[in-house]
């Protein structure tokens, strides 16, 4: 329990730091970068619950993000619901999608689940293109207030909100890692047959992990249209989400909750720097090369180096 005390103080400190920044930092671009990096902390952490703990690769992070984003867009347009409700709805939809894909394909070998998540991405994108209510192929502008009483601008408020979400996501991952649920996921990753023989209900645990991971991704996607003011299918379904959410845990280390956080902070910051200073193509290239490099040469990620 002492560990949780330290962790909780750390989490509170992160959120307070974000609040402090809204009062002192003037450069709005820094907030944009912070929003993106914090969103990646949530996504990488979510990916790691199924990918790192359980060993099933999800290529469809973009689909879950977009599902959360478009759920928020639809509800915002329909009833102008408050932000926490939008995020909850995004999480619910992401969870349902995760459970559904999981039920369909997690009985099979891992590669089928991976391919199915690619399939889901294209199917959802086609659905969005054909759904005029949320803008179809043109995209949609989201009306939301520009000022915020507490934090100056609405976007600054969203950064604080995202910081809080990141803390919650990491807390969930930490809890999963320590719980019996997390241990059964590790058992499945190491040997599915052995886990089943020891009485772990493997399919049920895998579907639960897929639902939890999907819900966190959906929640992370919900604030996106509000932050950008606008969303279309290319920004929501971006392949960069899929490859980054996978690369970050691989770079940081997949076995422990801190791995994806390290990966997301390092790679996310590097991506922002490279995109601004060089070009977005090089950014993607760097992400891909880092992914390959770590997968080949450092399978345990940065955590593996530290522990040695």
């Amino acid at each position: 329990m002492r560990g949780w005390g330290v962790f909780a103080s750390g989490g509170v400190a992160v959120v307070l730091l974000a609040v402090l920044a809204t009062q002192t930092v003037a450069n709005d671009y820094l907030f944009f970068a912070a929003f993106v990096v914090l969103q990646f902390v949530v996504l990488a952490t979510a990916w790691n619950i199924l990918g790192g703990y359980c060993g099933y690769v999800n290529f469809g992070t973009g689909a879950f993000v977009a599902l959360g984003a478009y759920t928020a867009v639809a509800l915002h347009k329909f009833a102008d619901l408050p932000l926490p409700l939008l995020v909850t709805a995004g999480a619910a939809m992401g969870g349902v999608l995760g459970a559904a894909v999981g039920l369909l394909t997690l009985r099979l070998r891992g590669i089928y689940f991976a391919i199915a998540t690619l399939a889901v991405t294209i199917i959802l994108e086609t659905a969005v293109l054909n759904w005029d209510y949320v803008g179809g192929a043109r995209g949609i502008t989201v009306d939301r207030p520009h000022a915020d009483a507490l934090f100056g601008t609405y976007n600054r408020m969203l950064v604080v909100f995202m910081a809080a979400m990141a803390v919650v996501a990491v807390a969930i991952a930490r809890w999963v890692g320590h719980s019996a649920f997390g241990r059964s996921l590790s058992a499945i990753r190491d040997s599915e047959d052995a886990a089943e023989a020891c009485g772990v209900p493997t399919l049920k645990r895998k579907v639960q992990a897929a639902a939890l991971s999907g819900a966190m991704m959906g929640a992370a996607g919900a604030p996106l249209p509000l932050y950008l003011n606008f969303v279309d299918h290319t920004s929501a379904f971006g392949l960069n989400y899929a490859v980054s959410a996978l690369a970050m845990p691989m770079i940081g280390g997949t076995g422990h909750w801190i791995g994806p956080v390290i990966g997301a902070l390092l790679l996310g910051t590097a991506q922002q720097a490279v995109t601004v200073t060089i070009s977005s193509e090089i950014n993607v290239l760097v992400t891909g090369l880092l992914l390959i490099g770590f997968v080949v040469a450092a399978p345990r990620g940065i955590l593996g180096w530290l522990k040695r």
Partner: protein, 290 residues
């Protein structure tokens, strides 16, 4: 829908299916028989397509011939990729599947960006006397480029089937797919067999790429669209069956073609993936599976 339109759509679908078969045959071996999670297959096809463009630009020869020439370097490239994949992932066990998938995903990504950096994001095409003309049979117009692609695909499929069933090494490939350990006990080296098979699969990819650019201009981010289609076909076929791959490809071609000529045409991209999800859910061993 009247009869003539339906016939038109069916024929177009068969041709489209032949083209899809051309794209999928290499994967039927690499993933279907050898169990390599080759997510980068469509990216390699695209490399073949740009290779054909380059070769034609340099020597001015027919793109399909260029694909045949490229098959030789692609074979050695394939054996090198497999050698690397085997020593880095396959022989290490436990979480190799996860990291192998991530590896090929990263490779696909890097290939795409390198193609953008090398060729730009504009569409590129090739020239050939049969591109832009159509074979006219009565009222029907069949574009020659699709006819060529389907015909070459059938030849490649036939050659693959003969290779797998008649040659010593081809039978060894089938044996390694069935039981690696038994093959090792017979004194054969399963890793060598798989290396050769992956080389052959990659060699066929050069030809697939040439056909891809014969059918239409290519652009670097095209591979994404085809990932779902080729995996849908290979899984639908039942892993590793060459004739099944052709049948499944034709099935998908017809389904997409019918969808295209229906009022719901804008949903066509989802057909392959919907089919794939349905197969995974209800018949994971494939339609023509072993």
């Amino acid at each position: 829908m009247d009869f003539e339109l339906l016939l038109d759509a069916l024929l177009a679908g068969v041709l489209l299916g032949g083209f899809y078969a051309a794209l999928s045959l290499g994967l039927a071996i690499a993933f279907g028989l050898l169990d390599v999670p080759h997510i980068a297959h469509p990216a390699f096809v695209l490399v073949g397509a740009y290779g054909a463009i380059l070769v034609q630009g340099k020597f001015g020869i027919d793109p399909v011939l260029a694909g045949l020439l490229l098959a030789v370097p692609f074979y050695f490239f394939g054996t090198a990729v497999y050698r690397f994949y085997h020593t880095t992932f396959e022989s290490r066990g436990s979480d190799a599947g996860l990291r192998g998938l991530a590896f090929f995903f990263g490779v696909a990504f890097v290939v795409e960006v390198l193609l953008i950096l090398a060729f730009g994001i504009d569409q590129r095409g090739v020239r050939a006397p049969y591109i832009g003309r159509a074979l006219e049979i009565g009222e029907l117009r069949l574009p020659w480029r699709m006819v060529v692609a389907s015909a070459v695909a059938l030849v490649v499929a036939g050659a693959m089937m003969l290779w797998l069933s008649r040659t010593y090494i081809g039978r060894a490939v089938q044996a390694v797919a069935q039981d690696t350990q038994a093959l090792a006990l017979m004194g054969a080296d399963p890793v060598r067999v798989k290396r050769i098979a992956f080389g052959v699969a990659t060699a066929s990819v050069a030809l697939s790429g040439a056909l891809l650019v014969v059918v239409g201009p290519v652009e670097p981010n095209m591979a994404r669209i085809y990932i779902g289609k080729v995996f849908a076909i290979v899984v639908l076929a039942g892993l590793g069956s060459v004739s099944g791959t052709v049948l499944a490809a034709v099935l998908l071609g017809i389904a997409e073609s019918l969808m295209l000529s229906s009022p719901a045409a804008s949903w066509t991209p989802a057909v392959a993936f919907g089919l794939l999800l349905a197969v995974l859910a209800f018949r994971p061993q494939g339609l023509f599976g072993r």
